[in-house]
């Protein structure tokens, strides 16, 4: 019996597929090459987790510490802030405008319960780092394994 590889020999859409492939290749060269930051949910965040704490990093370039507001409700962390436009915005003659401005809110559901009173937030060169120590109940607890006594050997 003759064996055919359907995809190769009998693809009625082979021509279309070729066009599609070429188009996506073009798309990649136009839009894929330069990795652009932003564009997604703003601000971008990183969430790290260790047995001791949860660490949230947040990219907020151009936002003053006074314009940032971090709050926590249970296991939900909310980052609010305002990115201020340049002063006298209306008078400026913009040639290019990519950065944008305005209020933003980002909500993060934490992977564990944290101690709300010991949370620290730090802003350094546009990167905000929030350290959230885990609540005692959420920390891993080592359970001691007691060796059992020598078992009686039955005859």
């Amino acid at each position: 019996m003759a064996m055919f590889r359907w995809g190769v020999n009998f693809d009625p859409f082979a021509g279309l597929r070729h066009v599609q492939r070429e188009l996506s290749r073009l798309h990649e060269t136009w839009f894929g090459e330069s990795r652009r930051i932003g564009g997604g949910p703003y601000p971008p965040v990183n969430v790290y987790e260790s047995p001791e704490e949860v660490l949230v990093q947040c990219e907020v370039a151009g936002v003053d510490a006074g314009d940032l507001d971090v709050s926590i409700t249970g296991e939900t962390l909310t980052i609010k802030g305002t990115k201020r436009p340049p002063p006298d915005e209306e008078k400026l003659n913009f040639v290019r405008r990519e950065r944008g401005s305005g209020a933003f809110t980002r909500t993060i559901v934490l992977p564990d319960a944290v101690e709300a009173d010991r949370i620290e937030a730090n802003l350094d060169n546009g990167i905000m780092t929030i350290r959230l120590p885990k609540a005692a109940a959420a920390k891993p607890k080592h359970i001691e394994i007691k060796p059992s006594g020598p078992e009686e050997v039955r005859p």
Partner: protein
């Protein structure tokens, strides 16, 4: 502009080419009567991490991030951004006075001021009427 956050502008012929993996920083460019101002977002970059170069009418902005990422004992639960390098180049108009370009970095934002040469500033031309 305070002296502390001033970035040096280098005029050089050669420079190392950053890989294609560099981030393209978001920029605002606006023009006033006296200058063109370029505002680029370089979160995580300190003043020392930013390098500006003017070469043959091209202004290149290079920066690298210097914030700490947690070590190996932290699990990456969610990643939305990563440390890396920023790179972007701009063609300079001839009317920019290259010697007087100034730049500063504050709060992850780089501001480059490109003053227009005196000859290029707009002047009001008086129209004389012949009586």
């Amino acid at each position: 502009m305070t002296k502390d956050d001033a970035v040096k502008v280098e005029a050089s012929r050669s420079g190392q080419e950053l890989g294609e993996n560099a981030f393209n920083p978001l920029v605002d460019v606006y023009e006033t009567e006296k200058e063109v101002v370029l505002v680029a977002e370089v979160p995580g970059a300190r003043r020392e991490d930013v390098l500006l170069r003017v070469d043959k009418g091209v202004l290149t902005v290079e920066a690298s991030t210097s914030y700490e990422t947690p070590g190996e004992n932290y699990a990456r639960t969610y990643l939305g951004f990563e440390p890396g390098q920023y790179f972007r180049a701009f063609a300079l108009s001839d009317e920019i006075d290259r010697e007087k370009i100034g730049a500063s970095v504050a709060n992850g934002v780089l501001t480059v001021r490109l003053p227009k040469a005196a000859a290029a500033r707009s002047r009001r031309i008086e129209i004389k009427t012949a009586d």
